[in-house]
Amino acid sequence: MIARGRARVVGHHIDTDAIIPARYLVTADPGDLARHAFEDLDPSLRDRVGGGDILVAGENFGQGSSREHAPLAIKGLGVAAVVAISFARIFYRNAFNIGLPLLECPDAHAGVRDGDALEVDFTAGAVRNLTREEVYCGQPIPEFMQRLLESGGLVGYIRAQRRSPGQSPVAERQSSVEEGR
């Protein structure tokens, strides 16, 4: 699984209030949420972010609330993927659950500049910076997360599971002890 797009760089410890302030949590529509995404952090960011862009963040991206509205707002902006040094755990689960791929990559944040052309390989766990001819190695996303993404998120995954109840997801999951949150 690969995503290609322009980099949009943000800082460390970006919290869920910075991603989508709670005063806008009166809707769960990704488009409506996107109109207020990052409003208190940098109001110009939502205008600069275009479809297919890749958000590159520092440490602990998504700390704070369990609001799924946070990854939904980012998805609503058209962001294809988020690459960060690390993610807060509830945000990590929520993003994969709604079909927004994330990649943990310790070196990308220091190397990437805003606007760089990036190629993110989730299976290999690597980010290629096409502008600077650099490669940053990260963690491949766990197999279970890949299956979630292939199903379009948790909704699709559960639907598929319910269609074929004989197949135990647990046995499969336990065979891959990995970095899921």
Binding site: H13, R23, L25, N60, G64, N97, L154
Partner: protein, 422 residues
């Protein structure tokens, strides 16, 4: 302890950190912000009925009483779902309180449980010796359909608290000190197991405010071994049988950290991170526009009692306003019976019906441009309580009350002298 609880719910003899397990859940809940999305996902998943109506609660607590038409519609969609599915545990305006405080009070969580909530502060319930964690709406929907949830077994760090807290130092100060020491991602993904003799000096209310804020250090859950006080608190409330789970004497921990509490002073987390912790003495004098006592972290009876001890016979400073929101109707009623509400009204505080409101900058106490608030809540991120230039200091209830009296950040001893045991 966390591993033992997860193993018991995954049907495994033991589990190890890093392993992904499929767990049976004992109870799930969602609030008025997370429920509408969870309901939508539940329907998309093809859910016809919830896995067990007796193990599900919906609590309207964030935007209640509804602040505008969209929030009223969110509450309505939750109400409609509850009625359509005939769910017995629905807490609507007037009977609702802040979910974490309410659901523990109502006995929906017991030691050894796996308790899942679509709200990050669900980790609150670890004070009862349960595994409790917050998830998003999709996870909640999946749990509503299947009664199960996948979880990665966290590594546990044990925090051993030693010594007796000084007067005016509460559980809130202890958890802030820990977050200040390890940082807002210091426990990222892990389990925080709190232990040590200090816990024996803390009321259940204070213990809840410690596990409540585990998420502010990035943790998946915070947990405490039940003692006599825990069992005395939970037994008369419990709606389901429970089995106490204790850590093995030879339990393996990723790390053990010791915190000496007997020299600590009350602290605040200064803007704009819960990890930016300094002694109140080092922040004294900051001009404050609003003080807020409430929330799932510190809107409990003990918080109101200690605030009343500071406020009794005193007035809120004319350039400051004080909001007090008891976390549940039962706490409100008890505060009324004890005369605390009278003290608050006499002091010039505004006392309101239970809601998360101001904590999330939602309603009932939103901050304007450049305003400063001392709040007993758990988060002080940029824009959390209002305008993006407003600033929030997190504190215990006594500090918030003392600050309301003087109009500047104040150590409670400077207003109310030494705290003598009640």
């Amino acid at each position: 302890m966390t591993e033992k609880i997860l193993a018991a719910h995954a049907g495994a003899a033991s589990v190890r950190p890093g392993e992904i397990v499929d767990c049976r859940v004992d109870f799930v809940f969602a609030n008025d912000i997370t429920a509408p999305l969870a309901i939508q996902e539940f329907q998309k998943m093809g859910g016809n009925s919830v896995f067990d109506p007796d193990r599900v609660a919906f609590v309207l607590d964030h935007y209640v009483p509804n602040k505008d038409i969209p929030s009223a519609n969110q509450a309505k969609s939750t109400r409609d779902f509850v009625r359509a599915h005939g769910l017995p545990y629905f807490y609507d305006i007037g009977r609702a309180g802040i979910a974490h405080v309410l659901l523990a009070e109502e006995g929906f969580v017991g030691p050894g449980d796996v308790f899942i909530g679509a709200d990050s502060h669900t980790c609150n319930h670890g004070a009862l010796g349960a595994f409790a964690t917050g998830v998003g709406s999709s996870d909640l929907a999946a749990a509503l359909v299947t009664g199960r949830l996948w979880l990665r077994v966290p590594e546990t760090v044990r925090y051993v608290l030693t010594g007796r807290p000084r007067p005016w130092v509460t559980g809130k100060d202890l958890v802030l000190v820990i977050i200040g020491t390890i940082g807002v991602d210091g426990a990222r993904y892990g389990a925080m197991e709190f232990a040590g003799e200090t816990l024996s000096y803390l009321t259940m209310d204070e213990r809840f405010s410690i596990t409540n804020m585990a998420v502010e250090a990035g943790a998946k859950n915070g947990i405490m071994e039940p003692d006599a006080r825990t069992l005395e608190w939970v037994t008369p409330r419990a709606r389901r049988s429970f089995t106490v789970v204790r850590p093995d004497p030879d339990a393996a921990y990723a790390d053990v950290k010791t915190i000496e509490v007997n020299r600590l002073e009350p602290v605040v987390a200064a803007p704009s991170s819960p990890g930016n912790v300094v002694s109140v003495r080092d922040a004294t004098g900051v001009r404050v526009d609003q003080c807020f006592i409430g929330t799932c972290t510190n809107g409990r009876l003990e918080d109101l009692r200690i605030a009343a001890r500071v406020l009794a016979g005193r007035r809120v400073h004319r350039d400051t306003r004080l909001l007090i929101i008891p976390a549940t109707p039962a706490i409100y009623r008890q505060a009324l019976e004890e005369g605390l509400i009278q003290i608050f009204l006499d002091a010039g505080a505004a006392v309101s019906t239970s809601t998360c409101g101001p904590c999330i900058g939602g309603h009932m106490g939103v901050l304007g441009e450049g305003e400063v608030c001392v709040s007993t809540s758990s988060r002080n991120f940029v824009g959390r309580m209002g305008h993006k230039t407003s600033r929030v200091y997190l504190s215990n209830a006594a500090v918030a009350a003392a600050t309301a009296v003087t109009g500047t950040l104040t150590h409670p001893a400077d207003v109310a002298g030494e705290l003598v045991p009640a």
